[in-house]
Subunit: 469 residues, 2 copies
């Protein structure tokens, strides 16, 4: 009975931290994109042990547990959908542990801390957690979705920066398990913790993580570069990587439509003399060395001058680091002004990246001529936010139309060896596409994922993703 | 029946590639350390499909399958031990796939290629696989053991550099499964492939991997540094990392006894004027930039001069990159001259690293005064090869003595939050220590590892590690 659960959970967590039905604050049910969800109850446990007890109570009373961090996810994994059967478990109050080890440059931290909280506290020590995003998720949510972000080229994704996890399991209900000792180098166990990274709240609740930190760079040099043609983009990329390797901290690609969205409301004349290119690259170098020892701006500028003379680069904006990143981070917002955004979070082998752009655009022109393509993203990692705008003038986009559109493009992604979720992870929003993709690419993956999921959660009570076929 | 297996396996792989009992070439049974093993048969399949068929045949005939790469492992995972029940499956002839993608800087490669083969072929493209070891293992063996090596500080371990795997499974016998599409950025599936990294040949046979490559550095600067005292080592380390971050490609620690072993037979006067320090640090900076753009040697030298004046550094050897690395790589060999080497592959939180050295040495002095400690290793990663020499003069080391010695030190490792296998992985040689360690640290890990192992290999027919309690 729900009422029994509520009474027991309130006794454990306090009245103020358990709410039900219509009394649940809307922000817990309204995701960043998509329609609002619903839940039978919301619990905000104030400690790891409270969380374990809440899970025990929920499972005993037949509720499914949907973990939620800062609710910034883009695949609906943290947004519950069952008004009678879902307990929404927010990790917002899991903030007890914040243990900084300056010598190991690691942080052991409760999963409820937000990325911005963490980086603010680290700045005083000249450190940061270098998985750099536009959003401000909880660290637990970042681990549950293995986020990548704009500096992955240099620092890797969350997986590459996670050293240990603490999880609360569904079976036996409420069991606390620590996976890893937080060491930089350790090969003394099966890699069970890896399963939880990118598990989208399935398998168990992440209550604490130990992450690697990086020294804050002492300088950055940023350029927004217009190549002579899109055919030059990857040769330029290969040249930059071979030349500067570990100094390259971002290499983003931005289509003309995305540039326009990012510059919405600004004076275009400041950018490329008002002649926006069809495609631009955002290139960032960074280093721990100060500019007196390594002049990154001069390095970047010298290279650009050479490429300008060789004809591979048409124009570039320099000495405007903040304005360039500002443009980049305003793209999503700028697109929303123009209509309904359909965002595909893809990655492709670099050799097929431009082919996908061209074939995807051609497919759209045939099947959805009203859609405007405005792709951008982490080109250096093969990542592409293949974002499209369904203009306000085209009327409402039906669920069937969106499904047809997504399916057509996802089939092309599979054909070219790409990923349908480069960095956002898997949630209800991608459940069907996930099955279809692996059904095309390697169906055995679905069978094995189901077997492993059943080990951790035999009754399907944790999270909303069914990893099986 | 073994004879039936042999006949069928020979029909599939060819007479020359299946041998039995005494006809097995000794190198397949003699590991780099420890006594020789034994096997009922050895098969060298010449392709992924032959390997799958061999596994099917072996399991049908009741044999256990022990995968072996280049047989350089240090935990006996690839050395079989059952003269009637073990099929030794060597991946030596799995060399069909070598697909280099220069734009993605990835290599899809059959598991039988050796690290040296791979790096020789890559050098022409200015690339390398940066997991850098003294030994020359197969790439499949490296993945199965998640090797770390001397440049892990900059490039990460095998896990951080593996993008996809192909495995052949035990149940259903011979099933081929591809885990991952080889993309730099992909969050579209459960991280099943991660389980196989560091699995020591259990769970399944690795037949192919896709790995990340790095540009070859254009310069290195190396110094062998004598600190004023061991108390200065980690402050110097922290300073170096905060100062140079991504440029630091190695930071090794070498005890005086290990220095002497590495310099065995050389003119000591060339090193620190013959006054070897109690402890030395090998520091390497490297960069893709040429020295004209970034003078690494000057950077390192300038810093050392400052630290010399401040009194934290007593002396340093510079401009002798090859001689310094030569010393480092000769340590293990130099120790073997002095007696029987007992090697512990540890890592520790950096704050406990020196405490472990001191307490470990004190424990040895009390319980095994005849043992000479000669530790060295990847200090920057918290790694320590806590190697000891049982001198020839002390007579034979009994199995019971070695066990007591290992157990005493492993208990101290657990107390200080360390790992009993930093980079060598787990195999029969560490099976008991593995159980004891996790029994002390987090017993639940053993239960969960068993459950996961049973999913992949329900009848315990793959590899030699039992991950359970």
């Amino acid at each position: 009975m729900l009422s029994d659960f509520l009474a027991e959970a309130r006794a454990r967590c306090g009245e103020a931290h358990v709410s039900e039905g219509a009394a649940i604050e809307p922000r817990y049910l309204q995701p960043a994109r998509y329609a609002a969800g619903q839940a039978a109850a919301l619990a905000l446990p104030g400690s790891r042990d409270e969380a374990a007890d809440v899970i025990r109570l929920a499972l005993r009373h037949g509720l499914r547990v949907v973990p939620q961090g800062a609710h910034t996810g883009l695949v609906r994994a943290g947004t519950p959908d069952d008004a009678s059967g879902d307990l929404l478990l927010s990790t917002e109050r899991l903030r007890q542990v914040f243990e900084l080890d300056l010598l190991d440059r690691t942080l052991r931290v409760s999963s409820g801390f937000k990325l911005s909280d963490i980086n603010e506290r680290l700045a005083a020590h000249g450190l940061w957690f270098p998985v750099d995003l536009s959003a401000d998720p909880s660290i637990g949510g970042m681990v549950a979705h293995n986020t990548g972000g704009t500096r992955m080229l240099r620092y890797g994704d969350v997986r590459a920066n996670t050293l240990a996890l603490e999880v609360v399991l569904a079976e036996p209900a409420g069991q606390v398990l620590r996976l890893g000792q937080g060491l930089q180098k350790d090969n003394s166990a099966m890699a069970l913790g890896q399963l939880f990274i990118g598990s989208s709240g399935s398998l168990g609740l992440i209550t604490e993580v130990t992450i690697k930190l990086a020294p804050l760079p002492r300088q950055r040099a940023v350029a927004l570069v217009a190549p002579a043609s899109t055919g030059e983009v990857f040769p330029l990329y290969a040249d930059v990587m071979q030349r500067w390797g570990g100094l390259v901290s971002a290499f983003e690609g931005i289509s003309r439509a995305a540039l326009e969205a990012g510059l919405h409301g600004q004076d275009l004349a400041r950018w490329f003399d008002g002649q926006l290119p069809d495609y631009a690259m955002l290139i960032e170098l960074s280093s721990e060395l100060p500019a007196e020892q390594l002049a990154l701006n001069e390095l970047l500028q010298g290279w650009l001058e050479g490429e300008f003379e060789s004809g591979r680069v048409r124009d570039a904006v320099l000495d405007a680091d903040e304005a360039i990143w500002g443009l980049r981070h305003r793209i999503s917002e700028g697109l929303r002004v123009r209509g309904k955004v359909i965002g595909l979070d893809l990655s492709l082998p670099r050799r097929h990246f431009m082919a996908f752009r061209e074939r995807g655009a051609a497919w759209l022109a045939t099947h959805f001529p009203q859609v405007e393509l405005a792709d951008f993203g982490h080109l250096g990692d093969g990542g592409m936010h293949f974002n499209m705008v369904w203009p306000l003038s085209a009327g409402a986009l039906s669920a069937g139309q969106e499904l047809t559109l997504r399916e057509g493009l996802y089939a092309l992604v599979a054909e070219l060896g790409g990923s349908i979720s480069a960095e956002h992870g898997v949630g209800p929003q991608l459940q069907a596409a996930y099955r279809a993709h692996w059904g095309r690419v390697e169906p055995g993956v679905l069978d094995w994922a189901r077997r492993v999921q059943l080990v951790w959660d035999p009754h399907g009570r944790m999270g909303q993703v069914d990893w099986g076929p």
